[in-house]
Symmetry: C2
Subunit: 186 residues, 2 copies
DNA sequence: AGGCTACCATACGGCAGCGTATTGACAACG
DNA sequence: CGTTGTCAATACGCTGCCGTATGGTAGCCT
């Protein structure tokens, strides 16, 4: 964390995103954030009109990054092979899992905020479209491809959300098996 | 809500669970709850030592209900047929979905609270054990059964968590397809 | 009837966080 | 070298909530 004399608007957004990830929506408070950034509220209210404005900004950047960056990264290493795309997605799961914590907070919010729900819907539609396309390219019929896409996407959340122990095997192995199962032809 | 002169400890727990479902963890505040119950804090601090004590009580009853009641209900209508068990589970999904909102709040909490995470783990282990057993009864080998159980359980969360639109088909149909897919033999 | 118990109201002190207003510091620029 | 624009500190009022303390009331028990 830079101790540079001044903070940019993006500095605040980044810090807020971290707070969201580590502490949930309750942790998105301006005075604690100011302390974390080594400044006072005086700075914040120059960059933002209110706490809500900060939250909006955080959601804005989440929406951008969440649809673009990940897909591009996965696509880059897949070379148009759908199976490799899906496996690449899972190989990056551990990198994603910290992002996922922030996403869960956002989705928890979406449960009771119409506007947030709309944002989540836009993100989900784009990500589902991507997954659906991969399964169709594997030769699956539309309905099944949709189902598999939904299963894959759900598993992504299940992975962070469920704490089950799986007896003697590891979570990683279970996930591996699941993906294998999802990739098998109709 | 009853306007009876006095409130029991369970009244508070019930109200708190509703608040958790509708407003997230932030909504679990004693003064607003008192208003909702038509009493004052004086009542609360007779039944509970603190706000945390209330949260613990809520988690206690969630843990009980979440492992026992649902499974029993599903089992009752399934008559030991694993496929029917799993389909029954999904037929009850809409009844469960309001409970799920509270669960998401709890799981969001579990992301950053060790003690809550342990509770969730206990619940998940029991529910996964149930699912795993059904798939094994269908004749699937252990590894695959575990993977299918994880996929099924994840889908349960995905259903409430993802807001995707599925084009011309409905969520219900996608779920139907997904379950059919999960039930197919090895 | 008197009193005990269980439950609730009222009133209080305290704190954390929001937003505002005002002033200050410093850099860039003309 | 002063002016302007950008960012930050300080100080303030306000609200919502926690927890405590204390007193009140209604029903049961004897």
């Amino acid at each position: 964390m830079a101790t540079s004399p001044r903070r940019s608007r993006d500095d605040w957004i980044r810090a807020a995103t971290v707070a969201l990830r580590d502490g949930g929506v309750d942790a998105l408070r301006v005075e604690p954030l100011a302390v974390a950034l080594g400044v006072t509220k005086g700075s914040f209210y120059w960059h933002f009109a209110s706490r809500d404005a900060l939250l909006e900004a955080v959601l804005d950047t989440w929406e951008e990054v969440g649809t673009g960056a990940i897909i591009v990264a996965v696509d880059a290493e897949a070379e148009d092979d759908p199976e490799r795309s899906l496996r690449a997605l899972w190989r990056r799961t551990h990198e994603l899992s910290s992002e996922m914590r922030a996403e869960l907070a956002i989705r928890d919010l979406a449960q009771r905020d119409e506007a947030v729900r709309d944002r989540v819907r836009r993100v989900d539609d784009r990500r589902m479209a991507y997954l659906r396309r991969q399964y169709r390219r594997l030769g699956l019929p539309a309905g099944l491809a949709e189902a598999r896409a939904m299963l894959t996407y759900s598993l992504l959340f299940g992975n962070v959300l469920v704490e089950a122990t799986h007896g003697r095997t590891s979570r990683a192995r279970v996930l591996q098996r699941a993906i294998d199962d999802l990739l098998r032809p109709a």
